[in-house]
């Protein structure tokens, strides 16, 4: 073996030297400015016409706590309905059957095309259209008794959510490689089984971030149900300030609760994402 040729002179050995720390003057300056602005805002609020004692008194009031529980119950149930409808409609939309396709597209068009608050009002006032509802010969009831604020809010929020979720689910299914569908067919799977066993589990990984977004939107959208007397947190806060006129204080109470709930949801979403990321990390196990 030939010896390696001698290295050229004039290129000193730097391996012992460390890289100096950068001063980052601009970062320090901008951070100081932002702290100043925040302090000014805090001072303004502290001296403004807000009785903070009311905020701390009502933040754990029974009516407010019941309200936030109702908010969460409605958000979870309506989102569940929305995801169920979304999956069904997305599958219909991707089916080769033109009837199913058209029905799915029509559903999305109708419920995405009208304001949510209008849909809530329509559900709640269904009794004006159909005084009695039921299955002819089997069961019937007065619509006012059936269409409670709870049911009207659930239907309004859930069915509206389904229209949006169907597009999220459809995008997720389209993101799965066509070869996956062919491989599923090649081992004898039918369309629905391939969707359930192979395509949807892979689509979930893609759709969880947008679904998390949608769920956070849903938590806040439940506040619209206050117009149909559903006792969620904003509705209950309003009822209190109608009595004691502490409008801003109670709006702050409701706002803090929304912020808290949304803050808890973010780490939950990360847990879910990890669950569906199975097999995607090369060295994870």
């Amino acid at each position: 073996m030939k010896p390696a040729p001698a290295l050229a002179e004039g290129f000193p050995d730097l391996s012992g030297m460390r890289i100096a720390r950068e001063p980052h003057w601009f970062r320090w300056l901008s951070a100081a400015l932002i702290v100043l602005v925040l302090a000014a805002i805090a001072r303004a609020f502290a001296n403004g016409q807000i009785e903070w004692s009311y905020v701390s008194r009502f933040i754990t009031a029974k009516v407010i706590l019941e309200g936030i529980v109702n908010t969460m119950v409605m958000a979870v149930l309506a989102m569940a309905l929305g995801i169920f409808l979304g999956i069904v409609v997305a599958i219909m939309r991707l089916s080769p059957n033109p009837v199913l396709k058209t029905v799915a597209a029509g559903y999305t068009w109708l419920f995405r095309g009208t304001p949510l608050i209008l849909q809530l009002l329509l559900w709640f006032n269904l009794a004006l259209v159909f005084p009695t509802i039921g299955i002819p010969g089997l069961w019937s009831a007065r619509a006012v008794d059936v269409m409670t604020p709870f049911l009207a809010a659930l239907l309004g929020l859930g069915i509206n959510q389904g229209a949006y979720t169907s597009e999220v689910m459809r995008a997720g299914m389209l993101s799965v490689d066509i070869g996956q569908y062919e491989a599923a067919q090649a081992i004898g799977m039918g369309r629905l089984r391939a969707l359930r066993r192979i395509i949807l589990p892979q689509a979930m990984r893609v759709v969880i971030p947008p679904l998390g977004n949608e769920f956070i939107g849903m938590v806040k959208a439940t506040s619209l149900a206050s117009v149909i007397q559903y006792p969620e947190v904003l509705h209950n806060a309003e009822n209190i300030y109608y009595a004691n006129s502490r409008v801003i204080e109670l709006l702050i109470v409701a706002g803090l609760w929304y912020l808290l709930v949304v803050s808890i949801l973010t780490p939950l979403q990360m847990l879910l994402e990890r669950r569906f990321a199975r097999g995607t990390l090369r060295f994870a196990r």
Partner: protein, 254 residues
Amino acid sequence: MTKPLVAIRSVAKNFGEFQALKNVSLDVWPGEVMCLIGASGSGKTTLLRCINQLAVIDSGGIWLDGELLGVREQSGRLHRLSEREIGRQRLKTGMVFQRFNLFPHKTALENIIEGPLQVQGRKSDEVHAEAIELLRRVGLSAKADSYPAQLSGGQQQRVAIARALAMKPMLMLFDEPTSALDPELVGEVLAVMKELAKSGMTMMVVTHELGFAREVADRVVYMDQGAIVEQGRASDVLGAPREERTKAFLSAVI
């Protein structure tokens, strides 16, 4: 008298204006290893996909194990089979894809047992034992619990072969099984295929591996522009081609 396992008669398939298959007829006999060669776009992959009904033929007929595929003849007309019946017919063939198409959210073992458990509804412990035996056969006993992303291309393709074999097919279809592999990984997949050929499996292999064709194939079929140009023993077609187009293709490839 034995009958062909696959009988292809006057099959045509178009993709829009493009004629992928023009009047193709071919028999594949039980135990035969057939290699399909030809330039890309010559129709060899489409022919495989038609046998597995991933592509639907426009005219002609394909019989597998004596059964007409995809359609039923009734009072002078052809009626399409239901999805369920097509699924049942697909169980007679195993397909290995160029890009493996393993299910990324399932381990190697789960990939193999998915079909037997979910589609064939067989008993879990029996299916597990067979899957472990199949993994041993493709040399991947240690990788049962690995996800596809943790396996090399060659290992993934061997799992894919095991997945296809788990359905106990009568016919194995290989669609360019080594084309997506790094050169040093081709050999391990070809070795598994050779072992499979030796065991008597009927195989149709679309491939550019002429060395494999020469060594293992009972018959080589050269296709060009959607038609079969030349076929015969590997030594004849590859060693002494009669058709000009075959000669041109072979001199371009080697």
